[in-house]
């Protein structure tokens, strides 16, 4: 077993893992953070998106051992206590989800976009989220929710 010391959503975390265990499995099974979902398990669908040192990655394609000494951000770290992030509120408002499996990954990915690009074009949002597959809602509501959240965040900035 490998001993990993990491930071998750700003808090120190440690766990033991197998060499071939993924960060996704460690988050879900060892740290009880079940927000990141396993869709395809091979880096195609983006349901397991988390940030690693600030950059969005598929946590199914990161070994848990690789998180040692680095900073992980998951969907659980997006809301501030009971206060939802604007993206989360806008997803509810626009009904931008049905089954919800893809939603945590899309929220993490979209948040990373808006942090570096507060005023993205619709095309930028669509390309940025090309690695996040949704099999039920369709993408229009998702894109509208992200654009609306971006507009609100700019107003309040």
């Amino acid at each position: 077993m490998i001993h990993v010391n990491t930071t998750v959503n700003g808090d120190p975390a440690e766990f033991l893992c197998e060499p071939r265990e993924t960060l996704l499995d460690a988050l879900r099974d060892r740290l009880d953070l079940t927000g990141a979902k396993e869709g395809c398990g091979t880096g195609d669908c983006g349901a397991c998106t988390v940030t690693l040192d600030g950059r969005p990655v598929c946590s199914c394609l990161v070994l848990a051992a690789e998180a040692d000494g680095r900073e992980v951000g998951t969907v659980e770290g997006i809301a501030r206590g009971e206060a939802l992030h604007p993206l989360q509120r806008k997803f509810i408002e626009h009904a931008a989800l049905q089954c919800g499996i893809c939603t945590p990954g899309i929220l993490v990915a979209a948040k990373a976009l808006l942090e570096k690009t507060p005023d993205p074009s619709e095309t930028e949002v669509r390309y940025w989220l090309a690695g996040n597959l949704c099999r039920c809602t369709g993408y229009d509501k998702i894109i509208r929710a992200v654009m609306d959240a971006a507009a609100e965040m700019r107003e309040n900035a």
């Binding site: 490998i2 060499p19 071939r20 993924t22 398990g41 091979t42 880096g43 983006g46 998106t49 690693l52 950059r55 969005p56 990655v57 598929c58 199914c60 394609l61 990161v62 070994l63 051992a65 690789e66 990915a109 390309y127 940025w128 090309a130 690695g131 996040n132």
Partner: protein, 285 residues
């Protein structure tokens, strides 16, 4: 599976030399971990090179060239203004690989050593005249990128050899490069054909050019005849026609659901023309 975190490339090489079974080096993991999880390749020894000093760095060299560490991601390259200004074609090619989640992790060296004939960054690196530093039991050597691929999934690297960095030459005045690929959709796909062009201009005239193709042969290819077709010209119609012919002549593609032999061959010529125009404009800008 044993997971190693060596502190130097010499140590990484020594682990690989001593290993008895399947060995893989881990940087971004976007191929190695897919193969691991799909049970296609289960390494006995997995050697993570990311603790090695300098491996995440993009360094401008004294001669005007660039050194890109083996674990620098495509996203880090895209965020680097100096590198993007000097070698936009190489940076754009790397940026085409997978989704932005994949861009956060995937590397030039990984794309090269995975050995896919359709690797997007490889024709761009070959056109640029890039070299890689190979560290192995016999010491260190510098080889051209086009000498690494040896067939689908195969490289010319020997047991215990590991690539530590990519070096791009000085861009110099009047230089420009471009990479284009054809895919049947707009994003998240594998090249049916890819083409990289790098050239140098003096005024209107092209003084040097390199053209490379991907996905039309068992390896990514340097096409010297295509570069020669451009050299000495002002990118007139005759030069573009000769370029397209040379690119088509270099093709020996597979025939599959993603593209027939005839289609891939035709598109290689079309992309070569378009990439050459972009590189030419950039060189003049």
């Amino acid at each position: 599976m044993r997971y190693h975190k060596p502190e130097s490339f010499e140590d990484a090489s020594a682990i690989a030399v001593a290993a008895k079974g399947v060995t893989r080096f881990l940087a971004g993991g976007t191929d190695v971990l897919v193969q691991l999880r799909s049970d296609l390749v289960t390494p006995d020894d997995l050697i993570d090179i990311k603790q090695i000093p300098g491996v995440r760095e993009i360094t401008p060299l004294r001669d005007g060239g660039w050194r890109i560490g083996a674990a620098v991601s495509a996203a880090e390259m895209k965020a680097h203004d100096g590198l993007r200004a000097a070698w936009p074609g190489v940076v754009e090619a790397a940026d085409l690989i997978g989704s932005m989640q994949i861009s956060s992790r995937c590397t030039l060296v990984g794309n090269l050593c995975n050995g896919s004939p359709a690797a997007d960054s490889v024709p761009a690196m070959i056109a640029a005249g890039a070299t890689v530093t190979v560290i192995g039991p016999g010491g260190s050597r510098e080889i051209a990128v086009e000498d690494v691929p040896a067939g689908p999934g195969k490289t010319s690297l020997k047991k215990g050899e590991v690539v530590s960095a990519v070096t791009l030459p000085p861009r110099g005045a009047g230089g420009g490069d471009a990479y284009l690929r054809f895919i049947p959709r707009t994003e998240m796909d594998i090249a049916v054909v890819g083409c990289g062009v790098s050239l140098t201009r003096e005024g209107e005239r092209i003084t040097a050019a390199r053209v490379a193709l991907g996905a039309v042969a068992p390896t990514c290819l340097l096409v010297p005849a295509a570069g020669a077709a451009l050299t000495g010209s002002a990118l007139d119609d005759a030069a573009l026609e000769a370029l397209a012919k040379a690119a088509e002549a270099a093709c020996s593609p597979i025939d599959d659901k993603r593209g027939t032999v005839a289609f891939r061959t035709r598109v290689a010529g079309v992309l070569a023309r378009r990439a050459a125009k972009i590189a030419y404009d950039r060189a003049g800008g």
